[in-house]
Amino acid sequence: MIKIAVVGLGKMGLSHQSMINMHPDVELVAVCDSSRFVLDMLEKYTGVKVYTNYSKMLKAEGLDAVIIATPSKLHEPMIREALEHDLHVFCEKPFCLDQEEGARLVDLAEQKQLVNQVGYHYRFVGAFQEVKRLLEQGILGTVSHVKAEAYGPVVLKPTGASWRNTRSEGGGCLYDYAAHPLNLVNWYFGMPDAVGGTVLNKIFSQDSEDEVYASLFLPNGVSGQLSVNWSDESYRRMTTKITITGTQGRIYADRQECQLYLRDSKKIPTDLMAGWNVRYTTELTDSVWFYVRGEEYSAELDYFIQKIKRTDNNNINSFANSLQTDRTINLLIEDNNSIPSNTATNNQQGMSKNWWQRVVS
């Protein structure tokens, strides 16, 4: 049995706890959080051992691995401490707010040969995996463009500050939402060579952006457009979409389906045909051992456990993979900072001022 603890019992931590507790190869040994209320409830009704002190838990429990789901700014010190205790680490996204520290953690995990995984769950969604498979076949010929989008109803009115909407703590639409489509772009095409025209615009939040738009200049001449808004109530829940155009056709994918349009040619594989080829989540999704809120969340944890069992740290969503996404995010922030403030639409006052300047001049 693999002995695991979960630290950080917010929405993600509790759902990880619920899934991992049912895994046949795992013994959930303890959980850790700063909220006594949550810990007391869990202790009373589930009997799990609880800690408020992370270091104490790591020292006392003889763990094999830890799942970290604390606020983003705590990822770096907590991952480091876990690796120093020779523990395999699954950490929620984003990986690490400071890229230099992130690079050191990549090295440390590699040096210690520990499984290191970050919770970019879209890489475990059947439709996005299908996109990866099709791209690796070169099905689209020469790819020219990717459009990466995410929309959803997270911040719909001005609210008080919390870590989730403070960029310096890893909150905001860029870290929380845009990280997902960016991570898919990194998976499909690698790191952008450069980014441009980055808009980080506030709609309701005080200390972070609510929408993100940018151009991505990817390897091999592939261009990309990023379009993300977490203040869009017209979406029932977070919706991530990828559209890829190439000389031989186009792919569109979201969580539910992968649509492929193929131009007629001699090179079409036997399982596909010219015109539209659609595959749905019902056929693209593998069964999981336990389901709480989407197969992908169960699948990423099972993958982590299987990698530990095989002591194989050549895993998907590794720290190194996820550092690419952190670096891409950083490129966007730097690009946005470099845009002269009188042209940047950083807030709505700014927008109306520009509009007035144009009218007056």
């Binding site: 989730r164 749905y280 809120r293």
Partner: protein, 284 residues
């Protein structure tokens, strides 16, 4: 039984279709129209979430009870999205406080306030159930379900007592049958039996594809064959992943399955599915 996913933009296959449906059903009268078609076809049970819009549907059925003397609601609670968002924003105890009635009810203060202080889930859970049930006042709700996200989350954590608390409150306060949605039917049945909920009503995905049947299709078939419970089949058509006749034929050959819940928006689909269920399930 008639389901409500199609009214609220839930479709397991296509976001586009889901959006088209949520446009079509933005007006509650469009929902009633479809419920009427189902009613005329003889489907007189509406299995629904506690989405705010269901409150308007309830209002309609209360006002027109003469026209639907035998209509029944099987509510499934809670509508989990609102709670999940609140937990992220306010933490667990903050979220619970936000959903407790804030009109100074003595009962709420005693049950809710002291429960939070003592970290007892009985008081909190029963208050939340009562808050969710408010919209069904005066309507027939003989069976009340716990939604699968909550059922499976509690099952995963091992909060077994919560099922007992839910079941007792549903029986005592609403004189109704407690029931459970789940994506992990065999595992849930073990735990429900363990806490003394006998012959439970469990609604789970049951389809030929094995879609959302955790533990595997064989484990489901074994459980249906060998265990004592009252299954309700959902996702029988796997959102259109299986042709209707084939889909219902599969379910009709399984032991114990007497009830199917399905959602559809067009007269053609409703009548076709109902006719297939009548033909195949009754011929078991």
């Amino acid at each position: 039984m008639f389901g409500d996913n199609q009214f609220f933009g839930v479709n397991h296959m296509s976001e586009e279709k889901a959006r088209a449906q949520s446009m079509r059903f933005r007006d509650t009268s469009a929902i009633i129209e479809v419920l009427d078609i189902a009613y005329e076809a003889g489907i007189k049970t509406f299995m629904c979430t506690t989405h705010d819009r269901i409150g308007e549907v309830c209002e309609y059925f209360r006002k027109n009870s003469d026209r639907y003397p035998d209509y029944q609601f099987y509510p499934g609670m809670p509508y989990a999205h609102k709670y999940a968002n609140a937990v992220t924003d306010y933490g667990i105890s903050g979220a619970i406080k936000r959903f407790l009635p804030d009109d100074g009810l003595f009962d709420a203060v005693v049950r809710g306030g002291s429960s939070i202080a003592k970290k007892e889930i009985d008081g909190i859970a029963t208050l939340l159930i009562d808050a969710e049930m408010k919209m069904f006042e005066g309507l027939s709700t003989p069976v009340i379900f716990l939604q699968n996200v909550v059922t499976d989350f509690l099952l995963g954590l091992g909060m077994k007592d919560a099922f007992r608390i839910f079941a007792d409150h549903i029986k005592n306060r609403y004189n109704a049958e407690p029931a459970f949605f789940t994506m992990n039917m065999p595992k849930l049945l073990d735990v429900l039996e363990e806490v003394g909920i006998e012959n439970p009503i469990i609604c789970s995905s049951i389809n030929k594809l094995g879609f959302r049947m955790c533990g595997g299709i064989e484990a489901y078939e074994q459980t249906l064959a060998n265990r004592q419970f009252r299954p309700v089949a959902m996702s029988v058509l796997a959102s259109g992943g299986i042709p209707p006749r084939e889909a219902i034929e599969y379910v009709s050959h399984l032991p114990k399955v007497q009830s199917i819940v399905f959602g559809a928006s067009s007269r053609g689909n409703i009548l076709q599915t109902k006719a297939l269920i009548d033909e195949l399930l009754d011929n078991q």
